[in-house]
Amino acid sequence: MERLYDLAEVLRSKNAGPLYITLDLLFADEATYRRVSGSEALSPGAVGELYGVAAEDVKIVHFDAANAIKITIPRTGPTSGAPGDRDVYGAQQHGPLLGLMIP
């Protein structure tokens, strides 16, 4: 088992418009990408639990051309930059993914 943070070459979050946060996981090689893609640790349900959103609101796309996985979730609180928001650019919302253990 290894931490997702240690397996990914890039692990980032960012706004996809003011209503969504998109999380990108880029891997240095195809083997690592396949290892994480095939893992149940990264199911919509598991991600939803980490972010407090329903599994059906978690969109996960596997992007072979870039050895990358993209996860998009709705902002559950205020829209970007509205009172109560903590992260206008959505740039530090990858935290909950860091510790996911990948077999």
Binding site: L19, Y20, D24, A66, S80, A82, R86, Y89
Partner: protein, 454 residues
């Protein structure tokens, strides 16, 4: 026309770019050049206030170099999403700099200005006719929401840009625009494949961000042919790989295989990326399907009040263990003190604790671990600045002296780095409109005004 060359000056005009890259790009004889100048990334404040994220001096520098290059070469220069949010004050601010530069540098050109602000009545009619729909978790658009808005802009597609180019515009300054429309319009006008043109535009609208090594804003050249396009960074120290170009489709958008434009959807599932030489990548296979009902995206904000904040640090262990209790006491005390003049719904008071859960707003992967020092930002929002200042001041002094069980540091709870400690933040806005509107002609709401400059 078998080959079309376009120079993207940078991902955001004002963030700077190396002049040497611009010169390299111009030396490749592009047919036109473009620059994006906006985004919603920095939040709702800019659309609401009319201010720009990039300051006048930054625009003077970047527009100064790029406008001079375009005029010297005699090629069209297209700037989209002027002034961050692309509303009328934003367009006017960039227009003002453009006039100043034309005078300073002796430029003469035909300018097309395309504004993007939407009349409230126009949007309300669409609401009544059921032609608007929500994106994401926002509620359906209502006439009341439209009335509440401070400003609404629509993201224009390629139509208005094509009208401007066909009208002989040498420079186009547009309000809120689809980033892709800046670059796709010229290609569409010349009969190039829309799937390839949109895909190329989607990459180069960020300048050379797809290039390695990853770095600051820079120029990139796109070459569009019948069945493929090629990309090449104009900074000779940068290169592209199939992976770096493909990976860029991940950036800031929900789906790397599909993206939506007013005119239709671009499908990248069959896109293929190949290395041409050490620095260039070729892309083919991207496809476009026209929408049956064109839509444009609306962005609107409402005023939520005025903000004042203070920033302070804490290191006392017993205080850090009792932050929730202290916060509750501060809120109660403030509510009691302002009770005569302000109802609970007439102000907002928030506490953000950096070093505890300030970023995620909830316990992180390791639970609610607290650092040995914690920073607090206290925020008050009220109907005017004076009231926000007063509420914040009360909260700050109450927090400073607030008692709690086990308190040992009885002289004060907060370490203020600054005097004065409180900062008025001005008006606070909120995106409450982020909806699609269906139109028979997606370009109809955007009027093109032609003028002579110089």
């Amino acid at each position: 026309m078998d080959e079309l060359r376009v120079l993207s000056v940078c991902g955001n005009l004002g963030y700077g770019f190396p002049v040497s890259s611009l010169e390299n790009g111009i030396a490749r004889n592009p047919h036109y050049m473009g620059a994006d100048n906006g985004s919603t990334d920095a939040g709702p404040y800019y659309l609401g206030s009319g201010d720009q994220l990039t300051k006048r001096e930054q625009i003077l520098r970047d527009l100064g170099h790029s406008l001079a290059a375009a005029r010297r070469k005699g090629i069209p220069y297209i700037i989209g999403s002027a002034g961050t949010a692309g509303g009328n004050p934003h367009v006017d601010a960039v227009l003002d700099v453009m006039h100043l530069l034309a005078k300073r540098d002796g430029h003469k050109f035909k300018l097309a200005v395309i504004r993007a602000e939407m009349e409230k009545e126009f949007v309300k009619r669409a609401v009544r006719e059921g032609r608007t729909r929500s994106l994401g978790k926002l509620p359906p658009l209502t006439e009341e929401a439209v009335d509440e808005s401070v400003r609404i802009v629509g993201q224009m597609g390629i139509g208005p840009f094509i009208r401007a180019l066909e009208g002989g515009a040498e420079v186009i300054l547009a309000g809120r625009s689809c980033d892709t429309a800046i670059y796709t319009s010229f290609a569409a006008m010349n009969g190039f494949d829309l799937g390839l043109a949109f895909h190329m535009s989607k990459i180069i609208e960020c300048g050379a961000q797809c290039a390695l090594p990853i770095g600051a804003n820079d120029c990139i050249l796109g070459t569009l042919r019948k069945d493929h396009f090629e990309l090449e960074p104009m900074n000779m120290g940068k290169r592209l790989t199939p992976n770096s170009v493909a990976a860029h489709m991940m950036y800031e958008q929900p789906d790397p295989y599909l993206f939506y434009e007013p005119e239709g959807v671009v499908d990248l599932q069959e896109s293929r990326f190949e290395q041409v030489d050490a620095r260039r990548v070729r892309v083919r296979g991207s496809r476009f399907a026209a929408a049956s009902k064109p839509t444009i995206k609306l962005e609107g904000v409402r005023l939520r009040g005025y903000r004042t904040i203070t920033v302070a640090g804490m290191s006392d262990p017993n205080l850090l263990r009792n932050l929730d209790e202290v916060e509750a006491r501060v809120k109660d005390t403030v509510a009691g003190m302002v009770g005569g003049s302000l109802k609970p719904e007439e102000y907002e008071l928030r506490f953000i604790y950096y070093g505890r859960d300030g970023v995620l707003g909830r316990p992180g992967p390791d639970g609610r671990k607290v650092a040995h020092e914690v920073g607090v930002v206290v925020e008050a929002i009220a109907r005017d600045q004076v009231t926000a200042n007063a509420v914040l001041s009360l909260a700050r002094s109450t927090f400073l002296h607030c008692g709690f069980e086990t308190r040992k540091a009885t002289a004060g709870n907060l370490a203020f780095p600054f005097s004065p400690s409180d900062f008025p933040g001005g008006p606070v806005y909120e995106f409450h409109i982020y909806h699609l509107i269906e139109l028979a002609d997606a370009g109809a709401p955007f009027e093109v005004e032609f003028t002579r400059v110089g």
